[in-house]
């Protein structure tokens, strides 16, 4: 059966465009214009993946509320936040709502699709036994590509898709410097350098929350970042 994707977005044109693109790719897409609508529908039937816009109509935090609601009902449901401002990312990250990714609305459909594909693959991988996964280990870092699971010193570090890809890009070749451009393409985004910097900052924060002495990520000003060998 085709995967069910729910798009909760109050701007009708964007909702329709995303909907069309995803349908073309083969997914079944339902669009909802407000949190209330989405909530009602999800009560009947949960989708397989949800794209949520943060500001929904007259509820500026409607997206957050919906996410909390969804997480209460499923911990594994992939949720992607959409927002017009990337300064919201810090807020979202701080809220620890458990979203799997947060993207700006100017992301290209290609990149959006790539994420959705990864997230579905991850859901599958999580239901399979662990052995089948591609495991990457380096020092205290342990990375399972399909499950998109990262653990540090044995503890799981919850990263979004974007963040996972960045860490993956760096830790595949420890000691090598990855430029911002390289990280951008690995993360499948087109952003300015400052966004990459704030992603790295958030990644560091999440690792530090697990291990206060974490310093495996090196910043080389003007060149890029690298995972310490």
């Amino acid at each position: 059966m085709a995967r069910q994707i729910a798009i909760v977005e109050d701007e009708p044109a964007i909702r329709a465009n995303y909907s069309d693109a995803l349908k073309r790719y083969g997914y079944e897409v339902h669009g909802y214009a407000s949190r209330a609508q989405a909530s009602t529908a999800f009560a009947l039937r949960m989708p397989d993946l949800v794209l949520v816009d943060i500001g929904l109509g007259d509820e500026p935090e409607g997206g957050f509320d919906l996410c909390r609601e969804l997480r209460q009902r499923s911990t594994t449901l992939p949720i992607i936040f959409l927002t017009a401002r990337d300064s919201d990312f810090d807020i979202i990250s701080g809220l620890r709502l458990g979203a799997d990714d947060y993207l700006t609305k100017d992301i290209s459909l290609q990149h959006l699709l790539a994420r959705i594909v990864s997230l579905f693959r991850r859901v599958e991988a999580l239901s399979l036994p662990a052995g089948k996964d591609q495991l990457l280990e380096h020092g205290s870092l342990s990375l399972q590509a399909d499950r998109m699971l990262v653990s540090w010193k044995g503890e799981e570090v919850p990263l979004t898709v974007t963040e996972f890809w960045i860490v993956h890009a760096m830790s595949r070749y420890p000691g090598h410097v990855k430029s911002r451009d390289q990280l951008m393409s690995a993360a499948q985004v087109v952003v300015d350098e400052a966004t990459i910097t704030s992603h790295i900052k958030r990644i560091r924060k999440k690792f530090v929350a697990v291990d206060a002495d974490f310093d495996a990520i090196d910043t080389l000003h003007g060149i890029g970042y690298r995972w310490k060998a």
Binding site: E11, N17, A84, S87, K105, S108, A194, G222
Partner: protein, 685 residues
């Protein structure tokens, strides 16, 4: 002129108070003086008219037109030719003139206990003696003197035999007898004549004396110059009147504190009496005066007093009172005059009233009175008034000046705050003090603050416009992009596909522009939130240089860093971004084969990061606005990247964050341009 000075000048208007008070009191003083004068004049008039009845003998004396005046003396003189025993009485002589009116002799008469003392100074330059034994006495320089009293008339001739020895020769009187009495006499030669001193017997007050002085020009001459008490060759007898007589009858009528002198028509003081208030006419009493009284007297004298005459010749011990009021009274016009007393605290009023015999003025009554009372009174009033007025004026001026100072301080504060309210770039600093005082200056302050708020709000709006725009435009842009992406997936005729592609690339550029706009806002926020850390600035630059060298490609990249570490406190990633911008800017202008130079120059208290490139000079018209936001001066440069002129603005913000500034200048040898960031470092958090 500052406000304070203006207000001080205006405060001087208050000076009108003491001035007005002064004039008022001066006028009052005049009026009171006037009334005092009237009173004294009335008293003197009363005395003058009562004189014939009250002091008849005196009146008779006054009627005598030719009196000889005898000074009161306690002792009879030593006839030694020295006037020192006459003391101060050796003054105001009667002058005996010859036919031509020249003064031949000066006569001094004094009335002693038993003698009538006579001193005669004769000026005679051609001395003719009487010869030995006085045989030539008749034709020698001589003085003939006659005395008429109750014993009849007696005459004598006085000559000198040889210088300094006198011979008194009796002369035959009209009754044919010669006086049996000889006179004690002395003759002393003087440089311009001779002096005779002798004593006439005095038995009572009624005497008449005659004198004749003969001056022979030469021995043997028989036409002498003659001067005497009479006119003509005969001895002219004149009655002797004693000076300074006491007249109790008149004294009784004097008002308190008044003294009186009765003068004959030659202004000799025939009678005197009364006295001024004790202590008012002698300078000795000044010792007891307090400084305050003296000060008051001084103020009076110089501020209030109408012009006063001098006190010369007014002394009570003068033999003659040849003073202005007397001179006037002798012509028949009464006159009063004010003069300062010897004691500083008083003034004396003199009133001279003519004594009449029918229509003829035969004498003068001179009354004098002190005016302490008035003086003190007016002085107290004046002093209080002046003092109070002066105090008031000073207080008013001080208050006005103080308040003006306070006002001008407030205005100055306001002015300074207004001048410091804006940074040189026109940003509002937000530290304008808002006054809560409810007056015009307070209103001005509040209006100014409101104005600044509005300006601040507007500039803030403008500043964040970029960020806001990018945010607002993001959603429609997302619509365009996603629509175009969908469009690409549809089957389109070739002609339509072109338009889809063009729209697509336009949307891409639009997206890049918006990203740049939001980047500026983000960087401003990042700068505002930046935290500082200690690092080695040289190492950061060295690290960055590697990347720049790659970017420079066919242009030479020179690096000029000190060998030693340069400790610095700041935000390295922001400095790096600023450097990126500078390098990017330089790369745009450096021609192939040119050079770019990055240098680090430590200085005292700051560090210079210099990025110079070889290329065209800075555009003239934009020199001072290079570092403003959204300024684009890249004319003639083709660029695929959107250029909104944010790069240098970011450089400036980063420099300011690090307590520094950035400047651009052409190189001295005109080979290129240099950008210099002079930064001190962020303060420790």
């Amino acid at each position: 002129m500052p406000l304070r000075m203006k207000l001080l000048l205006i405060a001087l208007v208050a000076a009108v108070f003491p001035l007005a008070g002064w004039r008022f009191v001066a006028q009052m003083e005049l009026t009171l003086r006037d009334s005092h004068e009237q009173a004294l004049v009335a008293a003197s008039r009363m005395l003058a008219s009562a004189l014939p009845q009250l002091a008849a003998p005196l009146y008779e004396q006054l009627r005598d037109p030719a009196l000889l005046h005898a000074r009161s003396m306690h002792l009879d003189v030593e006839v030694d030719g020295y006037p020192d025993d006459w003391g101060p009485l050796y003054a105001d002589p009667e002058e005996l003139r010859d036919a031509q009116g020249r003064v031949l002799a000066s006569l001094y008469l004094g009335s002693g206990p038993s003698s009538l003392n006579v001193l005669l100074d004769v000026s005679d330059s051609s001395r003719v003696d009487a010869g030995p034994d006085g045989l030539l006495a008749e034709f020698a320089d001589q003085v003939q003197i006659g005395l008429r009293d109750r014993f009849g008339e007696r005459r004598w001739r006085i000559v000198s035999v040889d210088r300094n020895s006198v011979v008194v020769l009796p002369l035959t009187g009209p009754d044919g007898r010669e006086p049996s009495l000889s006179l004690p006499a002395s003759w002393s030669e003087r440089p311009d004549g001779y002096r005779i001193e002798l004593r006439l017997p005095r038995f009572d007050q009624t005497q008449a004396v005659a004198l004749k002085v003969l001056d022979f020009p030469a021995p043997g001459a028989n036409l002498p110059r003659i001067a005497g008490t009479g006119s003509g060759p005969d001895l002219g007898y004149r009655n002797v009147a004693r000076l300074w007589q006491e007249q109790a009858s008149l004294d009784r009528l004097l008002p308190r504190g008044t003294r009186m002198r009765v003068l004959d028509r030659s202004a000799y003081v025939l009678a005197r009496g009364g006295n001024l208030r004790p202590g008012s006419d002698s300078a000795e009493d000044d010792d007891e005066l307090s400084l305050l009284r003296w000060l008051r007297a001084l103020i009076y004298r110089h501020l209030l007093a109408p012009p006063m005459g001098s006190s010369e010749r007014y002394g009570f011990n003068q033999l003659r009172a040849t003073v202005a009021p007397v001179d006037s009274a002798l012509t028949g016009t009464p006159m009063s005059a004010w003069r300062p007393a010897a004691s500083q605290a008083s003034v004396i009023l003199s009133s001279a009233m003519p004594v009449l015999d029918g229509d003829e003025v035969i004498g003068v009554i001179l009354l004098e009175q002190t005016s302490d009372a008035l003086l003190i009174w007016t002085n107290r009033a004046l002093g209080g008034l002046l003092f109070g007025g002066l105090l008031t004026m000073l207080a008013a001026a001080a208050i006005l000046f103080g308040y003006a100072g306070y006002l001008s301080l407030r205005i100055r504060t306001l002015r300074n705050a207004a001048e410091n309210a804006l940074t040189p770039e026109g940003r509002v600093l937000g530290n304008f003090p808002r006054s809560s005082v409810a007056d015009e200056i307070g209103d001005l302050s509040r209006s100014f603050a409101r104005l600044l708020d509005q300006v601040s709000g507007y500039t803030e709006y403008l500043r964040t416009l970029g960020g806001k725009l990018s945010h607002e435009l993001a959603t429609p842009l997302a619509v365009v992009k996603s629509s175009l992406e969908n469009l690409e997936q549809e089957a389109l005729p070739e002609s339509a596909r072109i338009y889809a592609e063009r729209a697509s690339s336009g949307a891409v550029r639009l997206a890049a522009l918006l990203r740049t706009l939001s980047q500026a806002a983000r960087i401003e926020n990042a700068i505002a939130a930046a935290e500082s850390e200690e690092f080695d600035l040289a190492a950061v630059l060295r690290g960055a240089a590697g990347g720049y060298r790659d970017l420079a490609q066919d242009r030479e990249f020179r690096l000029d860093l000190p060998a030693h570490p340069v400790p610095f406190r700041g935000a390295p990633e922001l400095l790096h971004q600023a450097l990126d911008k500078l390098v990017d800017n330089a790369l745009g202008y450096t021609p192939p084969g040119g050079w770019i130079r990055l240098a680090l120059e430590p200085r005292i208290g700051a560090v210079d990061i210099v990025l110079a490139n070889n290329g065209p000079p800075l555009p003239q018209r934009m020199q001072d606005r290079l570092f403003d936001s959204l300024i684009s001066v890249r004319d003639g440069r083709s660029s695929t990247a959107p250029h909104l002129g944010l790069g240098l603005y970011i450089v400036r913000l980063v420099a300011e964050l690090h307590q520094g500034e950035v400047s651009a200048s052409d190189l001295a040898d005109s080979t290129g341009v240099e950008f210099r960031m002079r930064i001190k470092g962020m303060p420790a958090a």
